[in-house]
């Protein structure tokens, strides 16, 4: 896979006209886990990155991928807390608090991904129970399209629209 320099990031429009952007290096990692073939199990992890100072955008600079302790099946993924949290803490510390937790991602074996009932329940629970800087994002990588949702502590979850290049 070439990291073609003309490759665009995945940029989504957020409520209020702000942006949520999955950087090219991160997208290249996600692409490796796309469930394009029958034997590939679901994958996922956390999103890490920056809230730009001027408030114009939130950028995903890094992600975690399945780690030992996680459980993967064709349409099921369980992310165990400890090892992912350790990576979140490390990124936060070495960036002087600027690289922060931005949400969750996982794959679906369908072209245009939509959240399952399990996904919705987990997202709603997380929005209430976790400690984070608002908002956080949920990304589902399908076999053709990638979609994103934005969530707030009050439980509101809205889909974001992708900018077509």
């Amino acid at each position: 896979m070439s990291s073609d320099r003309s490759m665009w990031p995945y940029t989504f429009v957020r409520p209020g006209g702000f942006h949520f952007e999955i950087s090219v290096p991160v997208w290249l990692i996600m692409q490796r886990f796309q469930q394009s073939e029958m034997h590939m199990a679901e994958a996922g992890g956390v999103l890490l990155g920056r809230h730009l100072r001027d408030g114009s955008a939130i950028i995903v600079d890094d992600i975690t991928t399945p780690l030992s302790g996680d459980r993967r099946a064709r349409v099921r993924f369980f992310r165990a807390q400890r090892r992912h949290q350790a990576i979140i803490d490390e990124a936060w510390r070495t960036s002087n608090g600027t690289c922060t937790y931005l949400g969750e991602w996982h794959t679906h074996p369908e072209p245009i991904p939509t959240p399952s009932a399990v996904d919705w329940t987990d997202w709603q629970r997380r929005l209430i129970s976790d400690q984070y800087s608002e908002p956080i994002f949920f990304v589902i990588v399908g076999t053709k399209h990638t979609s994103a949702w934005e969530g707030r502590r009050d439980g509101g979850i809205v889909p974001l629209s992708l900018i077509q290049r």
Partner: protein, 352 residues
């Protein structure tokens, strides 16, 4: 999307070459040449039993226009106009007058050349070029019956048709160019955009290569096609990225098909006419191949500008701009672009 105005202005501050008034070193180098001519011209003319005409100096080129950029290779280019109070009928052969100037400067450094458009004094240190001074010779306007100033063209041993006086008025050219943008803020952006072009040229064309578009051509392209752009005009918040992107797009669209005698085919050319007499195309010496290269490189520039404008991340935008503008275009560290947040505590997750 990405706001890179701060980085563009930082880039401008890094590459900008001040005017003579601000730059003592370059002013001193200019004055050395002026003093040398003052001391030697009368002697040289006397040698030929001629009376040394009266003359004066005028700054010209990017120093005068305040559109200069620092050279990457250290070879500064200083332009001087030398105006003789003589008419073109008194001195029908302009090369003869240039020869007097050449003789007055020859031996000053170990490389002085009489070139087509000027007499050039090169300064170097251990074979590394330091700077060169181009002295362009003129016949002053008040001396000519038509009231026009003329530029002495031609070299020693040039055929008669290649030695001629060409109507030329650098001051009028400069006034014409800058009067188009009377607003102080518009004019600042106009000058910055010219500097971005010039640095792009130095970074993307091999040094000394004849294939590079000349500085006056890039200045005139900006004069003809630039539109000031602001994110907030009332607060004087400029948008150099958009101004530059739109300019490059318009310039790319203005290449036109012209029949080329050497290639025996229609080729795409940029025609950039001087907005004052003699109205010549300042790119007319570029070959069809050089024009193609210019268009290709401009397309790469446009793609980078479109990308920088389209991505949300300031850093990603700057990384891409650095590829076309060179290492003086700043790329901020990730930390500099982001706000600080308290640590997050997450829980295990289930998805399906």
């Amino acid at each position: 999307m990405a706001n890179v105005q701060m980085q563009f202005e930082q880039f401008n501050d890094t590459i900008r070459l001040g005017r003579f008034e601000e730059n003592a070193t370059l002013r001193e180098k200019r004055d050395i040449i002026r003093r040398k001519l003052k001391a030697n011209l009368p002697v040289v003319f006397k040698k030929y039993n001629e009376i040394c005409p009266e003359y004066y100096f005028l700054d010209q080129g990017s120093y005068e226009m305040d559109t200069g950029t620092k050279p990457l290779d250290g070879d500064y280019d200083i332009d001087q106009g030398l105006y003789f109070l003589v008419s073109i009928t008194e001195w029908p052969d302009p090369v003869k007058l240039k020869e007097r100037v050449f003789e007055a400067l020859d031996g000053h450094t170990n490389r002085v050349e009489l070139r087509r458009s000027c007499v050039t004094v090169f300064y170097s240190c251990n074979d590394e070029p330091l700077y060169h001074v181009d002295v362009a010779v003129y016949s002053e306007s008040s001396m000519n019956t038509d009231g026009k100033s003329y530029h002495a063209k031609g070299k020693q041993h040039s055929l008669p048709e290649n030695r001629y006086w060409e109507v030329s008025n650098p001051q009028q050219l400069s006034d014409t160019i800058f009067d188009k943008f009377p607003g102080a803020e518009d004019r600042k952006q106009f000058r910055r955009v010219i500097r971005y072009w010039k640095r792009w040229k130095v970074v993307n064309f091999t040094a000394g290569g004849a294939s590079a578009p000349n500085g006056i051509g890039l200045t005139l392209l900006t004069y003809y096609h630039f539109q000031p752009r602001y994110t907030d005009a009332f607060a004087n918040k400029h948008n150099d990225l958009r101004a530059m992107r739109e300019l490059v797009e318009v310039v790319l669209a203005s290449f036109q098909l012209v029949y080329d005698e050497d290639e025996k085919a229609y080729v795409e050319r940029l025609i950039v006419k001087l907005p004052i007499e003699p109205w010549n195309d300042v790119f007319d010496r570029m070959t069809a191949r050089q024009m193609r290269t210019l268009k290709d490189k401009m397309t790469v520039l446009k793609d980078a500008l479109v990308y920088a404008e389209g991505v949300a991340d300031t850093r990603a935008a700057c990384e891409r701009l650095q590829m076309v503008f060179g290492k003086d275009f700043p790329v901020p560290e990730k930390q500099e672009t982001a706000s600080v947040h308290p640590p997050a505590i997450t829980s295990s997750g289930n998805s399906a």
